[in-house]
Point group: C3
Chain length 309, copies 3
């Protein structure tokens, strides 16, 4: 199992063994990510970070990852400074990343973009989110957080809260968690429940699932709450949005009935779905989760660039 | 007196001894800033440069500073590529800088932003200008310029020219100059004179002050002219703006009556307040002053990151 | 012949011997540009990349070039994040690049900008395109591609196709090719033929020239096709544009009658002027040509920064 030269387009292309290896390497990266240990492992490497839509956390954590390992990055954070305006295709842009760098990190609003780029770019392509499609490194850092903070994933109960219908993050993550043997609770308003085709697939995987609309039940039972943003735009009626957003907000009061070791996660940015009063509790894990994006992306870069096995 | 881990939010939090130490370290940085000497002092460090409004000079000189010392930077120059649009708070963005880097340089249009970010980010936060508030590294590089070019600041006469009412730069600088024992001349049109509360505070500091509306008197007396931009927007009547801008323009003709060693400073960018015919005179110090921003920021970064004492 | 400190404003300031030396150095850079060999040749250097208009390929290849040699870059890709809006002159911006870095790469919409910047900036200024003016590093990488791929330039027949009237690239390149002893075929619709003053100058150089409107004739005769974009905006009548664009499109069918070794070049980005079905043929050289921008720019940077002779 060599990762050298491999594309990272979808979490589905990675076996449990693959992912565990990535997370093992990520753990070794921790002291470097924290700035406590120096490294020049990717010292001669250049990374392309091509972001066709804003995504501060993903972009900056990839850039931090290559920098912490002694490498450098080139790219753009805004498609308006690129040749896209002149009508250049994504395929030609992918050839540019191939010519100027050792790997390409791509964020694009259209599903399938990363797959297409990977076909044209002979260097490794890492999908940093392609619209309604995949965001595999987010799933990997979520798994890393759970493994580090809960000690294991097998047999743990993870509750996913919020917009489970449109939330790309929770679809990929639920697939991966099932593969790792976790039990899943889906907590969502009727309008935003997990799509039937995803439920069917999880059942086919043999996953242990539960659906509920009640957040407090889930809080009592879970080892981790994975909260996602409920977007205003999903609701034709603004009052209905207000009601739902209020019902599914995680706050310090709600967490009083939780297990002492419950961790609260969120892919960030958050708006109102987690109250700031949670930040000071021992449950808040979302900032550390964001930090874990750095060692996980360091591990992936080092692996696909062939600098670790 | 250790600087390691310290925030740099306001010049008022730094004693004269503190600032002199920073300027001493900055002097040692000079050959590295000039590209004459190599350094890898900050070789394993990553700096966040988060700029919520355009500021080329400040941004690029911080980035040059970290690069000259072997480090790397991540960040943005335009808030439109960030999660601010999705409603993320500055507090959460500060936690992101904490997770991905070793220190945060923040430019923000709102006063108090740097203080707020420093509360949430456990890594050092450096204020690179927060609206009508503070811009402490500008003050430090102004002091460095004066000390290097005049030999000392004590007992020297510094004339500040232009918009003294709204100019954030001159408020902080006049406070610091008084602390260093300089004499101050304030040269401004009636509409833009130094606010009374600042004058009162300077008097309480025991500063030697003089107010005038006449630029040529000040030119004869001063060791340094510190010129600032007069903004059109301050004048309801465009003709009045034209008249004032003309009266307070520094040009080669005006400088004929100046002392040979008079230096002319400006925080830049300038528009018409210093005529280009001054550039070729021995008085022009503003470009070198801009350069001095690099060694001063190198010193600060090295100090707060704990790589020099 | 030392390059140290030299500005790179126009290809006309470089003798054939100069250019050949640059291309020789570029060849030595190839394994570093490919990521096969590490280098820290420009390890202590900071490059300013100031781009006043979008130009992904040129910007990223300069940044890749400095990174591959261990250096770092600062700058902007979008003038909206700069002080230009506050009314700062290009001359003052050039002084900023001088203060914060070791060399300045400038892209600007106005002809003559690079010359002006070079007058004010004491560090080397490299023109990365100034409107209708020059783009000398593009010409150098075009020459490098021809020399590497055809073995030599002397005596070879190069056909230039497309917009020869407004295309800055082809004007500079035809001058340089004539200097290198190539034969030139100009293939363009009547509306977009090579301007008379350029033809006159080439004749004065003693160049061997041919004009035609027929693409297939040129294909049979040439060792290289240099294709450029025909811009819609040049045609008042959109139907006329469609007809012309169709007639001068290079596609796989057309290339069936070409010599086996014919190479097809393009400065990129392309839109429809080269059909994607050419990409898979042995003739397609435009992606490799784009890659060659990296070693050529590495060579130039190393030369003007005085790190190679």
């Amino acid at each position: 199992m060599s990762f050298k030269g491999r594309d990272v387009v979808s979490i589905r292309e990675f076996s449990r063994q693959d992912i565990e290896h990535i997370l093992d390497v990520a753990r070794e990266m921790l002291p470097i990510a924290e700035g406590k240990k120096k490294s020049n492992m990717l010292g001669s490497h250049v990374l392309s970070t091509f972001f066709y839509e804003p995504s501060t956390r993903t972009r900056l954590s990839f850039q931090s990852a290559i920098c912490r390992l002694g490498g450098r990055y080139i790219g753009f954070a805004d498609p308006n400074v690129t040749s896209m305006k002149k009508g250049e295709t994504l395929a030609d842009t992918a050839k540019m990343a191939e010519a100027y760098s050792d790997a390409m990190v791509l964020r694009h609003p259209h599903e399938g973009s990363a797959r297409l780029a990977a076909e044209f770019c002979s260097k490794p392509v890492i999908n940093a989110g392609d619209g309604a499609g995949q965001h595999p490194t987010q799933t990997m850092l979520d798994l890393f957080t759970l493994r580090e903070e809960l000690g294991a994933i097998d047999g743990k109960t993870i509750a996913m809260v919020g917009d489970l219908k449109y939330g790309r993050t929770v679809h990929s993550l639920s697939y991966a968690l099932a593969m790792f043997g976790a039990k899943l609770i889906f907590v969502a308003p009727k309008e935003l429940q997990m799509p039937k085709e995803i439920i069917d697939r999880l059942n086919a995987q043999g996953a242990e699932l539960k659906n509920t609309t009640k957040l407090d039940d889930a809080v009592k039972e879970a080892s981790a709450l994975y909260v996602t943003r409920i977007q205003k735009e999903r609701f034709p009626d603004p009052n209905e949005y207000q009601r739902v957003a209020g019902t599914y907000q995680v706050n310090a009061e709600l967490l009083k009935c939780a297990d002492d070791k419950l961790i609260v996660m969120h892919p960030l940015p958050r708006v109102t779905e987690i109250s700031p009063d949670v930040d000071a509790t021992k449950h808040a894990m979302y900032f550390k989760q964001a930090f874990y994006g750095v060692p996980v992306r360091m591990a992936l870069l080092a692996l696909v660039l062939g600098e670790v096995d």
